[in-house]
């Protein structure tokens, strides 16, 4: 009796704490837990196309569509597609994702990205089919 009561309480607690746990991406879930807000794929796409102070945007190297193979703006090195729909390895390794957000937000926008922006960005990437 006692045990049953505890279980139902626990489940109710989980339901409140994780209302949007069905994103199917652990990294996005992490940003979600941090901001407790909602993310917008449209805002993420806008960020992707924003040209910053160095005349660079994400699209400068990753091309118009994140489904394409990109090219490093300086070295010409080929860059694997960023959209998980064509490159399932993307957005699976949190350390890797944080490393590149740090570098590329700095290069393209001249500043660090906020957790909200990272969540929007990953939402956009996951929405590209």
């Amino acid at each position: 009796m006692n045990i049953q009561l505890h279980t139902s309480r626990l489940l109710a607690g989980l339901a409140i704490a994780l209302p949007l746990a069905a994103s199917a991406n652990a990294i996005l879930d992490g940003y979600q837990a941090e901001t407790k807000g909602t993310f917008s794929a449209a805002a993420g796409e806008m960020l992707y196309r924003t040209v910053g102070p160095n005349q660079l945007s994400c699209a400068s190297c990753h091309t118009d569509s994140p489904k394409n193979v990109g090219k490093h703006a300086k070295t010409n090195k080929a860059i694997d597609p960023m959209a998980p729909s064509v490159n399932p390895k993307r957005f699976t390794d949190a350390a890797q994702v944080e490393k590149w957000f740090k570098r590329n937000c700095n290069d393209a926008l001249g500043r660090a990205c906020t957790t909200q922006e990272k969540g929007d960005f990953v939402s956009y990437m996951l929405s590209v089919k």
Binding site: H72, K74, T75, N76, K77, K99, R103, N106, D107
Partner: protein, 153 residues
Amino acid sequence: MTYFKSITLSLTLLGSGTLALADGGGNLPALHPKMEQECSACHIAFRPNFLPTSSWKQVMASLDKHYGTDASLSPADQKEITDWIIANSKEQGEAPPENRITKSFWFTRKHGTNHVKPEVWQRASIKSKTNCQACHADAAKGDFNEHKVRIPR
């Protein structure tokens, strides 16, 4: 006399070290796997003997401002790769301006206008002096044998 001596010394060092290794392509030591992985995310992983140790130290300590790009690593990865490069490079030759391999004496001598015209570097297929493999197909393996150079259109 001193001037002459220092030139002779430089040439001797270059002959025995940098160029011998850079040209050869045979029996090259394997690169540190993490170094290879991290560097080659943007360009081929350059051989440790392409810069003197003092230049490498400066390059590895300023990865957040890496020739106009933020190439920062986690502190742990940065240390691991730096330690390996220090252990596998030498303090030989003169440190090039801005710690640029492409401004090293041996590089400019081999890639001067008598060998490569300025407009060749501008080609879309080459674009950057960093893009070794555009002309040295096996550059990533450390093979810079000049007889295998093919300059793309």
